[in-house]
């Protein structure tokens, strides 16, 4: 049984769009998407699926919703893409609205189910294809559409005006100088080793993270720069809203900024989906087999500079700490061991969630789900009870979340399920617990 409360959610983006949707148009769009090259692989999957339901237990939404069969990964495909294929696109607007809810809110494309299906069937890609169809038809939840609009208009996710961005950098540099005199955030420095990029919510609401990273970069002696021009934002909600043209456009801006500045590699802050967009989905659409320059996730950067002794930890947390493995950098890039190396350097008492590493449960915020906004918040939180239980069992008082979506998602979980816990990025711990150069801090 799909959740009645979810079915009654009013999302302006969906309501308005389906009101004006003709069945001819739906059929035309589905037909064109399903005749494209990528769709072939999906058809093969559908023919291979033995309908065994073994993927069900893999999905946090299914487990969290008391094993509601409609939340099994295979069911989500059965209710959306499979019908579109079988009916050759002859579905109505109500069907599309329902498909949009399933595809945008009930699946975050975390790919966990692919690790539990004996055939490795790529449910996430099928769901993303449904999103693509929805997007072409304009049937997209209002809030994630708005972030996509922002990407379209501004190249960043949060309508950040160029002057606000630059001003924030200057202000964060001045702030960080109080911590570390002489510190700099070099802007647009050609030939630097590293271009550091962030997601737009940082300048918007968490600007201190930029100052924190500046401290780390300066202490570690990294030859780095940030871009004052567009391309500074690595986030990409268009990838999740199904607007592949905007997805590709902003990844192009992002990578070309790095190439223009002739840096050797890009380092990005603690974000998972941005990693995925910059390393896989974006380049792929643009014709690159991989990113044109190496992309180093913050976790890898911390790992490298800790291992090389470029920064030193002088203070360790003793409270029980647990670690959220972000899907996009763990299942998506195998960074779990490096993540643990970094956390072990900072915390004495790590209590693991179970299961973890590649088998972690998603936070239910990623994949664009949290970006569907307030109308869907309750639904999202119902879909992630299992994470609340996992977190609760650790007895930890701190959950380390090296991803913006995880961070925000787990904060919501903590609030909703009243856990006694807080979240933190690694960076926030790092700046507090690392050794500052002589005479800087008492």
């Amino acid at each position: 049984m799909a959740d009645l409360a979810d079915m009654q959610v009013v999302d302006k983006g969906l309501e308005k769009a389906v009101a004006g949707l003709s069945e001819e148009r739906i059929q035309e769009v589905i037909g064109s998407v399903l005749s494209q090259a990528v769709a072939g692989r999906l058809k093969l999957y559908l023919q291979t699926c033995v309908h065994c339901g073994l993927c069900a237990e893999a999905c946090h939404t299914y487990v969290s919703r008391d094993k509601d069969p409609d939340f099994a990964p295979v069911a989500k495909v059965k209710d959306t893409l499979a019908v579109m294929l079988k009916k050759k696109g002859r579905v109505d607007a109500e069907f599309m609205k329902n498909a949009a809810r399933v595809a945008f809110v009930e699946c975050g494309g975390c790919r966990r189910c692919s690790m539990y299906c004996p055939f490795g069937i790529d449910i996430a890609t099928m769901i993303m294809t449904v999103r693509r169809i929805c997007s072409l038809l304009g049937v997209v939840p209002q809030y994630i559409q708005d972030t996509t609009n922002s990407h379209s208009a501004t190249s960043n996710q949060m309508w950040v005006q160029p002057d606000d961005w630059i001003d924030t950098l200057i202000w964060q540099e001045e702030d960080a100088q109080l911590e570390l005199p002489g510190l700099r955030i070099p802007l647009d420095k050609e030939g630097a080793d590293v271009l550091y990029s962030v997601i737009a919510p940082e300048p918007k609401v968490m600007a201190q993270l930029i100052a924190n990273m500046a401290v780390v970069m300066n202490v570690a002696g990294i030859d780095w720069t940030m871009s004052s021009a567009d391309g500074w934002d690595n986030s990409n909600m268009a990838m999740f809203s199904g607007d592949l043209e905007i997805m590709g456009r902003i990844e192009r801006v992002h990578w070309e900024r790095a190439l223009e500045l002739r840096v050797k590699r890009m380092v990005m802050g603690e974000c998972g989906h941005a990693y995925r967009g910059a390393v896989y989905d974006g380049p792929k659409w643009l014709g690159w087999q991989g990113p044109p320059l190496p992309m180093i996730h913050a976790v890898e950067l911390y790992y490298d500079i800790l291992r090389e002794g470029r920064i030193e930890i002088v203070d360790k947390l003793t409270e029980p700490v647990t670690i959220q493995d972000p899907c996009n950098i763990v299942r998506g890039s195998g960074l779990h061991e490096k993540l643990r190396y970094v956390v072990a350097a900072l915390c004495d008492n790590v209590v693991e969630m179970s299961p973890n590493h590649e088998h972690n449960y998603c936070c239910a915020a990623g994949g664009g789900v949290i970006n569907c906004g307030p109308p869907w918040k309750l639904s999202r939180l119902k879909s992630i009870k299992v994470k609340a239980q996992q977190l609760g069992r650790t007895g930890a008082s701190l959950c380390i979340t090296p991803c913006h979506n995880c961070h925000h998602g787990i904060e919501d979980i903590i609030g909703h399920y009243q856990l006694h816990m807080r979240t933190s990025f690694i960076l926030e711990l790092l700046v507090k617990q690392m050794k500052m150069p002589e005479g800087v801090r008492g």
Partner: protein, 420 residues
């Protein structure tokens, strides 16, 4: 006459600035900029008392600055900086701040001849453009990028002209953006606009226009091309040509379009960075003949060699006969000239520099954290802490080298034949 003809091409070297000395005196010395003729080096310094200043060839600019950044030389050799004085921002040119001060000003841009300087401005809560110290009459909800005509007499900018409430996706889809030319916006509204370009004669303004959620085209002076595409990239004007050219996506491949009609016969997996020979008779672009492989196509003919990481915008020789580009493959960078890849590769390579005729191809490169000059694929032994792109004399017989060695900025002119 090429501007560089008036520069000093006397062979020999001159030390013009000493960064080491500046570092000894000042608390901070930022990244320097060098004038096109190599005669001057400007750099932002932070003095002991925390005040910012700009030092040019060691001499400090007069005014006290709370902050200075974004040092850029105009093509005609004037030094510009974005500066904050009394909590307000402005542009300073050769040490003279503009009269007008703004809550914020950024992204200085110059006409090709360097005579006109423009910058984006925030005034009150609105945005506008400032051209040579003069604000446009109108200001806008947002202004995101702009272009100047070659002579600087015309300016076009992408502007948001309709209010947009938070998360108002419906209004957004109706179009909230327009192009303002010399401050006057087009009547037409678009969902999205990118990369304005002005024709060489200054008569046409072309932009990438998003006409519907999934419909793109090129708009010229407010009028969209008739054909619509799945996506488009930046339009550009052929010297001596008529309307703009732009890559457009049809299905899942890219084609080169001229005024809405397909120009090159081939479709590519990717096609971007269209460039023209100086006289306009040839065109080159970065293309991907197959997924994951990039190269340069000249007049629809791709080079035989392809590269996995990236091919950067191609560049023609002054006579239009040769084409070169920076290429990246397996995390190494080098240069390819007319489809021939240099033997040596580097940590990074800059835009190749070509002279007329069959002269050598030069490029600034980076290896092991140091800069050097590569000539026809061979890295010369000289190393630099900092190096700017080499400049060939109009006849191509001499090279101007601008680099910092041992903390000292040295301007050198070397006969091309003596490059070793």
């Amino acid at each position: 006459m090429t501007r560089s003809a008036s520069w000093s091409w006397e062979t020999g070297s001159r030390t013009l600035a000493d960064l080491g000395e500046l570092r000894a005196v000042h608390r901070e010395v930022h990244e320097p900029a060098v004038s096109p003729d190599g005669e001057r080096l400007g750099v932002v310094v932070v003095r002991g008392d925390g005040a910012f200043a700009v030092a040019e060839n060691g001499e400090l600019w007069e005014p006290e600055l709370e902050r200075a950044w974004h040092l850029r030389y105009t093509p005609d050799g004037r030094l510009t900086a974005l500066v904050r004085i009394d909590d307000m921002w402005t542009v300073a040119v050769d040490g003279e701040p503009w009269q007008r001060r703004f809550p914020f000003v950024w992204n200085t841009g110059f006409s090709a001849d360097g005579r006109v300087i423009a910058a984006q401005v925030k005034e009150g809560m609105e945005y506008t453009l400032c051209v040579d110290g003069q604000l446009w009459d109108r200001s806008f909800l947002s202004l995101r990028s702009y272009a100047l005509s070659a002579d600087g007499r015309r300016a076009a900018a992408l502007v948001q002209v309709e209010e947009l409430a938070e998360a108002d996706t419906e209004k957004f889809a109706q179009g909230t953006w327009s192009v303002a030319v010399d401050g006057e916006p087009w009547e037409q509204r678009f969902i999205g606009l990118w990369s304005p370009a002005i024709s060489p004669d200054g008569e046409m303004v072309a932009v990438q226009a998003r006409t519907d959620r999934f419909e793109y085209t090129i708009a010229v002076n407010g009028v969209p091309w008739e054909s619509r595409f799945a996506c488009v990239w930046e339009p550009s004007f052929r010297p001596g040509g008529a309307g703009p050219l732009a890559p457009a996506r049809v299905g899942s491949t890219w084609r080169l379009m001229e005024e809405g009609e397909q120009l090159w016969a081939t479709s590519f997996v990717q096609l971007w960075h269209l460039r023209f020979s100086p006289a306009g008779e040839r065109a080159a672009a970065v293309v991907a003949p197959e997924w994951g492989r990039f190269t340069v196509a000249v007049d629809d003919r791709p080079w035989g060699c392809t590269f996995g990481d990236a091919v950067l915008p191609p560049v023609f020789s002054p006579d239009g006969k040769r084409v070169a580009a920076t290429v990246g493959h397996r995390r190494r960078w080098t240069v390819a000239v007319d489809g021939q890849v240099w033997e040596e590769s580097f940590d990074m390579a800059w835009m190749p520099v070509l002279g007329p005729g069959r002269g050598p191809v030069l490029a600034k490169v980076q290896r092991g954290g140091e800069y050097g000059l590569a000539v026809d694929g061979r890295l010369l032994s000289q190393r630099y802490e900092l190096l700017w792109d080499p400049v060939l004399s109009p006849e191509g017989d001499k090279v101007l080298l601008r680099g910092v060695q041992g903390g000292k900025y040295v301007r050198r002119v070397v006969p091309t034949g003596e490059l070793r």
